[in-house]
Symmetry: C2
Subunit: 308 residues, 2 copies
């Protein structure tokens, strides 16, 4: 099987996990002409894909039994483990030379474990978490960070190109997950700065939109500042990316850091502050809702205190 | 005097402070045809400007006695105080309607104090700190954050336009300094993220340049990541912006935060980490040298440990 050059019409692809990200991503592959078999824990979540021509698989094992490549993008590392290593997991039925591609943000060590379990059955495994959020998934502009063996990564390349724009092979199994952790560490501390800066600016009596004009394009500029600060200013805390998922990612990065013997005090602080936000009921808000927890630490309610 | 419409040849401008920033900025005004009188604590520092046609002023008071507008950009708030309020300060000699423009990053409250002292003599005062660093000063592309009365700010507009690209009036006296603090708060925490992410990525065995390709253009992206992370990777800790000046700025922001009754734990952490770096001898390194302090916290020497 040479996926890199295969006619899409004869490549059978499985897709496991149809949340906001998975739905958009799977649809790109349907649109590209691949024969898709999908599975989600709740079948209704897959309905739009089934309507668009995908077949239903009754379990991850069922999906894998009829696929050359199986993608997964689910919630937590435990879900990833169940999907690939569980009783009805992909490795129960995957044929030799099948390629498993987990795009969930998950533990690097688990990516290594799946890689080894797959290799024992002559199956390939690739970890390929993404950044770019729901918008990137919808527009096919994700950044895909890839770990795994070169041959398998190359074989899946044409499919990745339907999903993302920045597609980079970072190293062996787990390297995709490690790169995603590096990505989340950057966001974690920067979000503290964005929210603290807005709190300071507001409390010192400045007009927040005017401040953003001064600070957004220079040395203080960032994607989060340009994209999330305006939402914070207008009190919009709807999720682009859920707080509870971000807390999961930071917990993984902290576990890995402890294992590797490095201390990351900024990441630890961010994890703590976001955990406070979750304890205050913010689990399903967007990550920009950190502003609410920070304001409360200073005895304020952002929504009421700050100018709209 | 209507500076906004004045022929540059008849506008007399004073310039106090000829460090890296001040030298480049003053030169732009010389090039634009303004009659400049300059003062610096060490006369030799002004030599390039005197060679280019500026006159020497023996003190800030001497500069002010022959100027319609007096700019200052010096080191610390105490220097600002001496330049404008001291025994040989500008307010000793400034004539009514003179405009003082302090571009040092300094205490918002001090900007207010100078404004009041100036007003008592019918002199105008504007606080106008900048961001954009030595490169922005050289290229005339600074972001200028302005506090003061509208009339004075407008009058100095044509001069600001020779120095910067993003020129925004943020509010009354002190508002420029507060906006600069908001800017530094953003940078402070983001720098922690940049350095922690690189430490994590290196320790997990990734190739740092390849990681930067994946993370720089997406949701984790920032000016600091694009501009400073590559220097960190190649072990270049030469100053674009001195650690000791950054620590000064963060200390001001923390003082102001305490005065306003807000807690900024990310800023406090960054101030602490940069203070560690200073204690380790890093005062005159660039802000990206935070990487060295963070690596040492984990028992490593970045220069020897990291590839590149």
């Amino acid at each position: 099987m040479e996926l890199g050059t295969a006619d899409p019409d004869v490549t059978k692809v499985g897709w496991i996990g149809t949340g906001v990200m998975g739905l958009s991503m799977c649809r790109h592959l349907i649109d590209a002409g691949y024969q898709m078999t999908v599975y989600s824990r709740t079948r209704e979540r897959s309905a739009p894909l089934l309507d668009a021509g995908a077949k239903w698989g009754a379990s991850p094992a069922d999906v894998a039994s009829s696929s050359d490549v199986v993608f997964s993008i689910v919630g937590y590392p435990d879900d990833v483990r169940e999907v690939h290593l569980g009783q009805k997991g992909t490795l129960k039925t995957a044929r030799p030379e099948t390629i498993l591609v987990d795009m969930t943000t998950s533990r690097p060590a688990l990516a290594g474990e799946i890689f080894e379990a797959a290799r024992a059955k002559n199956v390939h495994s690739v970890d390929a978490p993404v950044s770019g959020g729901d918008v990137g998934a919808k527009n096919g502009t994700l950044s895909i960070m890839i770990g795994g063996e070169k041959g398998a990564v190359s074989a899946v390349g044409p499919l990745f190109e339907k999903l993302g724009r920045t597609i980079i092979h970072q190293g062996p199994a787990g390297a995709g997950q490690h790169t995603k952790m590096a990505n989340q560490i950057l966001i974690a501390t920067n979000m503290i700065g964005v929210c603290e800066s807005l709190l300071y600016a507001w409390k010192s009596g400045l007009d927040l939109d005017t401040v953003l004009q001064s600070v957004s394009s220079g040395a203080a500029g960032s994607w989060s500042l340009s994209n999330l600060a305006p939402r914070i200013v207008r009190g919009d805390f709807a999720p682009g990316f859920f707080v509870e998922h971000f807390v999961k990612d930071m917990a993984i990065a902290l576990e890995e850091s402890a294992r590797m013997g490095i201390t990351l005090p900024g990441l630890a602080l961010s994890h703590q502050l976001y955990s406070e936000l979750m304890a205050q009921g913010g689990a399903r808000q967007g990550t920009q809702a950190l502003q609410l927890a920070l304001a409360r630490m200073s005895g304020m309610e952002w929504g009421q205190a700050a100018p709209g």
